[in-house]
Subunit: 333 residues, 2 copies
């Protein structure tokens, strides 16, 4: 490629802000689309995002900010989507630009509830983006630690390893190490499933289970994740790599994870609705639970996934968390 | 077996006390050897261990307490050793009773520094206990949570699965679930290695690395552990089972782990000696690091174990933790 690729980030949450920060270590210009006019104006005036990672100061001359998704989509060669899965569908409805020849990177942590597709699949099916132009960014990585420039590792997966490398290079810095893989589907499912396990960890904590149980839960979760991903996309992968196990751990052990917090409230007796109202948001894992459950129902030979099933029964069948977890503990080892 | 087996616990630390509590849910009588006359007198008078898990009340009529190791060794059929690896050698020197026909259970978390043998190997070599009579108890299990009767899972490994089952049954209760395996050597090494990784986690924390890095460290640690154990004892095992991964996580993520605390002090700049003096004890992982390092040196085809090597360089070669970890971060992924 002669001209350097132009990058843009879509979204203005904490993870989007962290990714813009990473890119700003390497690139002269970054496109940044955000829905909120207020956020854009605040960024222009104060050089930081008013709502997320507000300690991160940007050099405004590096940023091409816009509230027009089409302007930024037109501008960039590499489009990094970092919009929560619950909102990405309605955001994308505004998109009129042909993006079929662009590189699409998903940093969305979940599945799209409207279509039940992985974000990559959605871009392939609806926008005719070829699979070799679709990449996924996975952690383990709390955005808050990126703000603090604490050493973090990212995994970039893309069927085209040259593109994975290019994206990885644009994100790497003193405090960000990257590796690449071609397991796009496996990584995307892992990112989705870990949120369900984080809800499970939260429920367990809310019910009064301790650290001993938490470690057994995580040990069972990674085995369940391996079975699940193997069923949907069989290939040689080491499930203990950072993109799978590491990401599960950073989420499952984090007291800051919104999925874990949501689970904790459920475990303590909140209803799903009141927990969502209290948190003023819907945790990604809530949708992921339904999708994973339904995906498994479709398979003729079902995967044993007692943890996901337990979370499903609690969130969607209104079953008592205490009773469900009592039964779950018999299935773990 | 016609007569029920008689059980005895050797040691009076927190893990020993927790094991006596588990046994007391099932057995009418438990032998309990402890070195300290004061501890024994206190237990008789106050029904609890003065130094560890003192919230646990025992029924004294269930306990056969003694400060004479030979009396308790003579009494029991199943001898459960729960003495720190640094002290077990000197304790065993008092043992005059023939124990070659007894069942020996190791709940010692480490390797014996004097002989560099796993505890099971020591009993086999020195006391002529056949391997089918040697068992190991592994977690993941903090003793403190046993005191609180929080649900915990144990793995009992023994080449003779009937004996493993008998021991597991004597430990099971409402709050203790057990599973059995025949991977005695693998489990014993896992128990030893996790303490080294807990030291590494502590050093990282002391140096200011965050949760993102911790999850990458644990993800690399379990892969390293798998390579190490496979080299010393090749058999089919799932390294993500609770006895391996679960135990690693409960120790590596615990702020109460003495190994992690020791590492944390090293990371913060204490010398090994001053950290040990401050803690008034030697963390098991300190010896384990040396043993694992030397074991690997003996192999012609060495295992890649960057984490253990890093801890070794810091603890035994007086290298700067910051520099060593900077290099280590390049080797992780």
């Amino acid at each position: 490629m002669d001209k350097p690729l132009k990058y843009a980030v879509f979204g203005a949450g904490s993870w989007a802000t962290a990714i813009v920060k990473m890119l700003s270590e390497n690139l002269n210009e970054i496109g940044w689309y955000m829905r909120s006019v207020y956020t854009k104006e605040h960024l222009l005036r104060e050089q930081h995002n008013p709502n997320y990672l507000s300690s991160v100061e940007f050099h405004i001359e590096q940023l091409k900010l816009s509230n027009d998704i089409n302007e930024i989509a037109e501008y960039a060669d590499v489009l990094i989507f970092v919009i929560p899965s619950a909102f990405i569908h309605s955001e994308l409805e505004k998109l009129k630009v042909d993006i079929s020849n662009k590189i699409i990177v998903s940093a969305v942590k979940g599945i799209m509830p409207e279509t039940e597709l992985l974000v990559g699949e959605h871009f392939h099916d609806i926008y005719k983006v070829p699979y070799e132009n679709i990449a996924v960014i996975a952690g383990p990585c709390h955005a808050e630690e990126v703000a603090l420039e604490r050493l973090s590792y990212l995994t970039i997966s893309c069927a085209d390893q040259n593109k994975a490398t290019a994206i990885a290079n644009s994100l790497s810095s003193d405090y960000i190490k990257t590796k690449i893989t071609d397991d796009v589907i496996g990584v995307e499912y892992a990112v989705m499933l870990k949120n369900i396990y984080a809800i499970a960890a939260g429920i367990a904590h809310g019910l009064g289970y301790g650290d001993n149980f938490q470690s057994v839960l995580m040990s069972n979760a990674i085995r369940e994740m391996k079975r699940f991903i193997k069923k949907v996309h069989k290939m040689k992968r080491n499930i203990n790599n950072s993109a799978y196990l590491g990401d599960l751990l950073v989420t499952g052990y984090s007291v800051f994870s919104r999925n874990r917090m949501f689970g904790n409230m459920i475990g303590k007796g909140y209803t799903v609705k009141s927990a969502q109202m209290e948190m003023n948001m819907v945790a990604e894992g809530y949708y992921a639970t339904k999708s994973a459950h339904e995906l498994n129902l479709k398979n003729t030979k079902k995967t044993q996934m007692p943890i996901i099933n337990a979370v499903y029964e609690i969130l969607y069948e209104n079953k008592n968390p205490k009773t469900v977890f009592m039964k779950l503990t018999e299935k773990l080892d």
